[in-house]
């Protein structure tokens, strides 16, 4: 008998069902698909982190993971604010002067996925990110100052103002691009992983995508090919329950996206995406698996998008559902409470970290504002190599 599966329904109720005849994963020997971390969704206690957590993570690393989660939250919040401020101005004027601030896809509420996953990577590992990618970029080590300057369209931006929110690149930290095409990044991740395999390095590529991309054809093609060629890639499905406005319930067939791994004969897991330690444990195992040349794996992290698809669009979701996820299942206080409970941090330290994080984001804004606009005469640069 498989563990119980708890699913969220759009009517604000937990649906409980029992998986029947789920079959066994046809994986290579040596990979233990953890039933403990599969389906650890619960009804929302904040102090349940690490419950199934056999890993030992250095104290400093735990604190750093919290700091990065806080940074993502503060960065995303500020990006939304800047958009709203920009929006209050005369857009025709902003258009005419080239000073528009583009809509942003906030990843607030999903910080545990970005941080739990990227904390399992080495600096020379790679990620391919998505349109909702700010969190992934920060978690992989991208500079928030350059990212904020990018949002502002400045020359000091992480992509020199040529890419914007959905196209952030920093090869120095292994960030080979966030992507504006849903499902467009999964094939690219194959290639980056292929290059590592071709050269005989032990680098791993981590490919973020969402429940929306799981409905695109490239999902199937990419997992099939990655499995056939034993590519060192970890597919991390950040299932935030919504693709623009369609719910996963209305768009994803089958119980769990993570279960699709068995169709390709690769390891798959489904974890609570709001539990940073559960994400980290699952992804760390998948990364080791890839590094040991055992091939790809698929981790589905069940989380929830706090805001509308992007700034400027209305959010018409059920208030009870919003309350549940933002007030009862917020990944950030869950992790903070866990670290306080484990006496890894103190209240004073926590307050200090929050202050420093907010200061870092303000510095990023100041950096972006001080950065020069791109020189219009350079518009054709970077088309050809």
């Amino acid at each position: 008998m498989w563990p119980r599966v708890l699913r969220w329904s759009p009517r604000g109720k937990w649906l409980e069902c029992v998986k029947q005849n789920a079959g066994s994963y046809n994986v290579r020997p040596g990979y233990c698909t953890s039933t403990a971390s599969k389906h650890v969704l619960d009804t929302g206690s904040r102090n349940d982190l690490g419950r199934n957590q056999p890993m030992t993570i250095e104290r400093d690393k735990l604190i750093e993971m919290l700091r990065v989660m806080q940074s993502i939250r503060a960065f995303e919040c500020k990006a939304r604010e800047l958009y709203e401020e920009n929006r209050k101005q005369d857009w025709n004027e902003l258009r005419a002067t080239g000073t528009m601030f583009c809509a942003v896809h906030s990843s607030e509420g999903q910080e545990a996925v970005a941080v739990g996953a990227c904390a399992a990577l080495n600096p020379d590992d790679y990620i391919i990110s998505t349109h909702r990618g700010h969190g992934h970029c920060i978690a992989k080590g991208a500079d928030m100052k350059a990212m904020m300057a990018e949002l502002m369209g400045k020359e000091g931006g992480i992509s020199k103002g040529r890419g914007g929110s959905m196209h952030m690149f920093d090869p120095e930290v292994g960030l080979l691009g966030s992507n504006g095409i849903v499902g467009g990044g999964t094939p690219l991740a194959l290639g980056v992983a292929f290059a590592s395999q071709y050269r005989g390095t032990d680098e791993v590529t981590l490919c973020f995508f969402g429940d929306g991309a799981a409905c695109e054809g490239t999902f199937h093609e990419s997992l099939n090919l990655a499995a056939l060629w034993t590519l060192p890639v970890v597919f991390v499905c950040e299932n935030n329950e919504y693709a623009v406005t369609i719910s996963a319930e209305d768009s994803v067939a089958g119980p769990d996206i993570g279960d699709r791994a068995s169709a390709y004969g690769i390891p798959g897991e489904v974890v609570d995406g709001n539990d940073v330690l559960a994400v980290h444990e699952a992804v760390a195992k998948a990364v080791s698996w890839a590094r040991e040349e055992a091939g790809p794996s698929l981790i589905e992290c069940k989380t929830w998008r706090w805001h509308a698809h992007c700034t400027g669009l209305p959010d018409r979701r059920d208030p009870d559902e919003i309350y549940h996820w933002t007030q009862e299942r917020d990944p950030l206080p869950r992790f903070e409470q866990y670290l306080l409970g484990q006496q890894i941090i103190t209240d004073a330290k926590l307050a200090q970290m929050r202050k420093e994080t907010n200061e870092a984001v303000e510095e990023a804004v100041a950096f972006g504002e001080a950065s020069n606009w791109p020189d219009p005469t350079t518009v054709a640069e970077y088309l050809w190599a």
């Binding site: 790679y126 391919i128 931006g157 992480i158 992509s159 020199k160 103002g161 040529r162 890419g163 196209h167 690149f169 920093d170 090869p171 080979l176 691009g177 992507n179 504006g180 095409i181 499902g183 467009g184 999964t186 094939p187 690219l188 991740a189 194959l190 290639g191 980056v192 992983a193 292929f194 290059a195 590592s196 071709y198 054809g217 490239t218 093609e221 990419s222 099939n224 090919l225 056939l228 060629w229 640069e381 970077y382 088309l383 050809w384 190599a385």
Partner: protein, 323 residues
């Protein structure tokens, strides 16, 4: 000089470049034992092994995307997409990814990638295996587009394409594969963006690529006693050697672009636009495009023959313009 087939010239180019640079690898459908649909990759698997000759499943989006990602990570993939008609199922990876990654990253990455594919009709393969879709790619900034006509050209151009640091769409005409021609001995390349005067003349300039170069040359020869025809093969549509075309039109005063693609919104219109804007005063007749009918390619040869320019159509078009 020695005489070899078009497909052998391609094979030589790829062998030489794979010998020269270990980061060059092949990926595509049926490219290993079968040597690709045309035979261009024949023998590569025996010579370079499975690591560098990757026979892929029927997943164009995945293997073209893989090549784009691998190029971004420093390799030099040569991809075979069996027919240009099949790019529809991997167009996102070409248009939104390969063409734009360098620009969107502010120059932080580059995509040295060649996508080889076969185009063109006259082979009774009907509407989904006979198209000439080069204008789809020339419309997208960030892609180079090559359409070779002769054995010597295909070898030199393919070597340049593989060495180029940008994504290159390399369209081979399926009727040219078995043709033979002379190629220079030893190492040589032909730069992308450098056109060639295939036949000199005084009365009219014909611009054509790929199979249409051969048909325009036959037409020019047919008219040799009455009209002096200059034939220009730009080799590459992006970048386009406008200097070569313009110099010719300034001499002849007449321009006829011959293309196998449907006439409407084809690349011929672009050449006519450039000449209208840049050399209008040199023209003594309205510039023209002779292309295919704006129809899907019919299967029956009796019908298909009606849709594509043949030598006689070109002769007639020249006579109409020069008369």
């Amino acid at each position: 000089m020695r005489e070899i087939t078009f497909v052998k010239a391609m094979n030589e180019a790829m062998v030489e470049e794979m010998e020269r640079d270990e980061t060059v690898f092949q990926i595509g459908e049926d490219i290993a034992r079968m040597g690709g649909i045309s035979g261009a990759t024949k023998g590569l698997i025996a010579r370079f092994g499975e690591k560098r000759v990757r026979q892929a499943p029927l997943s164009e989006a995945a293997f073209v995307g893989l090549a784009v990602g691998a190029a971004m990570a420093g390799l030099r993939p040569v991809v075979e997409v069996m027919y240009v008609d099949f790019v529809t199922v991997c167009m996102d990876q070409i248009v939104n990814q390969a063409a734009k990654l360098r620009y969107m990253s502010g120059g932080q990455v580059k995509v040295p990638l060649v996508i080889r594919t076969q185009g063109g009709g006259c082979n009774a393969e009907a509407a989904q295996h006979s198209q000439s879709l080069e204008a789809w790619f020339t419309h997208v900034p960030g892609l180079k587009v090559v359409m070779p006509a002769t054995c010597a050209d295909v070898k030199g151009l393919l070597k340049s394409a593989i060495r180029d640091d940008n994504p290159v769409i390399f369209i081979e005409h399926k009727l040219l594969y078995p043709t033979t021609g002379e190629i220079p001995e030893g190492e040589y390349t032909i730069p992308l963006g450098q056109g060639e005067v295939k036949r000199t003349g005084e009365d009219i300039t014909l611009v054509a690529t790929s199979l249409m170069v051969h048909r325009t040359l036959v037409a020019a020869e047919t008219l040799a006693d009455e009209i002096s025809v200059e034939v220009i093969d730009p080799h590459t549509l992006v970048p386009l050697d406008m200097d070569c075309i313009k110099a010719s039109v300034q001499k002849t005063g007449r321009l006829l672009v011959v293309q196998e693609a449907c006439t409407r919104s084809g690349f011929g219109s672009e050449i006519v636009r450039r000449i209208a804007e840049e050399a209008f005063d040199d023209l003594c007749a309205a510039p023209r495009v002779l292309g295919a009918a704006n129809l899907p390619k019919p299967y029956s040869g009796k019908l298909e023959i009606e849709t594509i320019p043949w030598e006689a159509d070109i002769v007639e078009a020249i006579r109409n313009m020069v008369a």
